[in-house]
């Protein structure tokens, strides 16, 4: 097993030079010394965690006015169980960030909430309503959940404009969707320039922007966001987090997010969950986790 827990030669002046300069936005800068393999992370987490936090602890952590909650969820794909007895609670108007190694099951949590997985047992409630067995297409209408997928989800042959309109598909009046689209264009010149071109010609980052703004057209209650910053240029990453911040704080939306850019994610979120191998390893307020040296070493890249 490649187990390189010993830090590499730290006298890398290039890296430390960058660490000093605080100018870089987006992913931030930093050293790259800590090299740990995935198995090692799993093992370390197992060693350090005080056991899987139980539902009560999580509720306490979430505070009052619980809006989204998951109880003892077992879910996966086909016959395969990915999430084992997973619990989650978020209060209304709060945000939660899931971090964890690749393949831990973070996206699967979001998939399960929206109804893209096989749910073996457990319960998902939103605002007290049981939505466990609701079909995906009813989630937005009945439960007010919007989902920004991790991978590509634009309609490639529709224009950018039409894509935004589709965001308001459930609206009774098409005009409202159109107005919302105009507002987006005012905000993002980048998209405005491409408004009548098919979405397939957008670059990776432009698509991401489109996907995020499209999800907001319906003015949802809960936002599921899977790695919003993936593929975005540094300035946009900041911008996206500003948008999310605005949504949460000014508009009172509840946000559940997955983010590999854990530093950013935990900075932003009220609560952070660390997910490993389909189980919750650690939970706590975002800034607390951020300060936790173990979390830093194992998930933030040192």
């Amino acid at each position: 097993m490649v187990d390189k827990e010993t830090p590499q030669d730290a006298s890398n002046d290039k890296a430390s030079a960058i660490e000093q300069s605080d100018k870089v936005s987006g992913y931030g800068a930093g050293g790259v010394e800590t090299v740990i393999s995935v198995e090692a992370v799993t093992r370390e987490v197992a060693r350090m965690s005080e056991g899987v936090p139980d539902a009560a602890t999580l509720e306490k952590l979430a505070g009052d006015n619980i809006f989204v909650s998951i109880e003892n969820l077992k879910a996966g794909y086909g016959q395969m169980e990915i999430l084992h007895d997973f619990n989650l609670s978020v209060a209304k108007g709060k945000s939660l960030c899931l971090i964890g190694p690749n393949g831990a099951g973070k996206s699967t949590v979001l998939h399960s909430i929206f109804g893209f997985t096989n749910i073996f047992s457990g319960k998902i409630t939103i605002d007290g309503k049981d939505v466990t067995r609701q079909k995906p297409n009813d989630k937005l209408k009945n439960a007010g959940i919007a989902y920004i997928l991790q991978d590509n989800s634009v309609f490639p042959n529709m224009t950018v404009e039409e894509n935004l309109w589709m965001g308001g598909f459930l609206k009774d009046k098409t005009d409202e969707a159109k107005e919302a689209a105009e507002r987006v264009f005012q905000k993002y010149d980048r998209l405005a320039k491409r408004r009548s071109q098919p979405a397939r010609v957008l670059s990776g980052g432009e698509r991401r922007l489109l996907e995020i703004s499209r999800a907001l057209v319906m003015n949802p209650e809960v936002l599921l966001v899977d790695e919003p910053s993936i593929g975005l240029e540094p300035r946009f990453i900041d911008m996206v987090f500003e948008i999310l911040d605005d949504l949460q704080n000014a508009e009172g939306k509840t946000i559940i997010m997955v983010e590999q850019n854990a530093k950013k994610g935990l900075e932003f979120a009220d609560i952070g969950y660390v997910l490993v191998s389909g189980e919750l390893a650690k939970a706590g307020p975002g800034d607390e986790l951020l300060a936790d040296p173990d979390v830093g070493r194992l998930f933030l890249g040192g």
Binding site: M1, V2, K4, Q8, N12, K14, A15, A17, I18, K23, V24, G26, Y27, G28, A29, G30, G31, V32, E33, T34, V35, I36, S37, V38, V41, M80, G100, P101, N102, G103, A104, G105, S107, Q150, D151, R190, Q197, L202, S203, G204, E206, R208, L209, I230, G231, L232, E233, P234, R235, F236, D238, Q260, N261, A262, K263, R297, L298, F299, L300, G301
Partner: protein, 248 residues
């Protein structure tokens, strides 16, 4: 032969009305690690696609080891030892990880009858070692399509190493990868570069990665070359900061 393995001279590419690349000239040093950054939509992926032959270019030349490859097709270019990974991951979804690796051996060295040769042990061993490194050893029998997004990305990277390319072009290799693992990736990239002499050409948005990795960086904006230089230079270049990095 010159010290540069890829030399691009005033390359232009447009899609209908959209000019994705305009008069791009750049050089990738043999045995070095070159970075490519730039805002979203500035034409980085387009440039990669032009180099490896995914579409015809409008004008300009691309030299690989002194040979013009701007008219070559994908496979021919790949067989020269020029390999790229994709921004949107691509692996062989229905095959398991080991098979994914096995089939990624350097085919350019294969003759006609090698098609029918058996699957040898040394290849499998090498595959396992590489999988172990990216943390997929436990998953080696799993269908690659069932891996998570990040795991697929790692697998693709391992496959690229398996291929022993001369030049490896990576399109945002660390997007969606856990930060700790990113460190490992960088380490491995550096070792691949040092030990096997694989030239690297990397697109990244993650400054932590590119600044630590590259020894020379190009920055595109609006399809044009904005700046080039050493990491420190780029980082402090006002144009780059304005157009891309942003400042607090």
């Amino acid at each position: 032969m010159s010290e540069y393995i890829i030399e691009i001279d005033s390359l232009s590419k447009s899609y209908g009305g959209v000019i994705a690349n305009k008069d791009i000239s750049l050089k990738v040093k043999k045995g070095g690690i070159t970075g490519l950054i730039g805002p979203n939509g500035s034409g980085k992926t387009t440039l990669f696609n032009s180099i490896v032959g995914y579409h015809p270019v409008d004008s300009g030349s691309i030299l690989f080891s002194g040979q013009d490859i701007s008219k070559f097709r994908v496979q021919e270019i790949a067989r020269l030892g020029l390999l790229r990974t994709f921004q949107q991951t691509r692996i062989y979804a229905k095959m398991n990880c080991i098979e994914n690796m096995q089939v990624s051996i350097p085919h350019r060295k294969a003759g006609f009858w090698d098609m029918f040769s058996s699957r040898d042990e040394t290849t499998i061993e090498r595959a396992e070692r590489l999988l172990e490194f990216v943390g997929l050893y436990e998953k080696r029998w799993l269908r690659a399509g069932d891996l998570s997004f990040g795991q697929q990305k790692l697998l693709e990277f391992a496959m690229a190493l398996m291929n022993e390319p001369t030049v490896l072009m990576l399109d945002e290799p660390t997007a969606g990868i856990n930060p700790t693992l990113i460190n490992g990736l960088i380490d491995r990239l550096k070792r691949a570069n040092e030990e096997f002499g694989i030239t690297l050409f990397v697109i990244e948005h993650n400054m932590r990665v590119i600044m630590n990795l590259a020894d020379h960086i190009y920055c595109l904006a609006h399809g044009q070359m904005l700046a080039e230089g050493k990491p420190e230079e780029i980082q402090n270049d006002q144009r780059v900061i304005d157009a891309y990095l942003g400042a607090h």
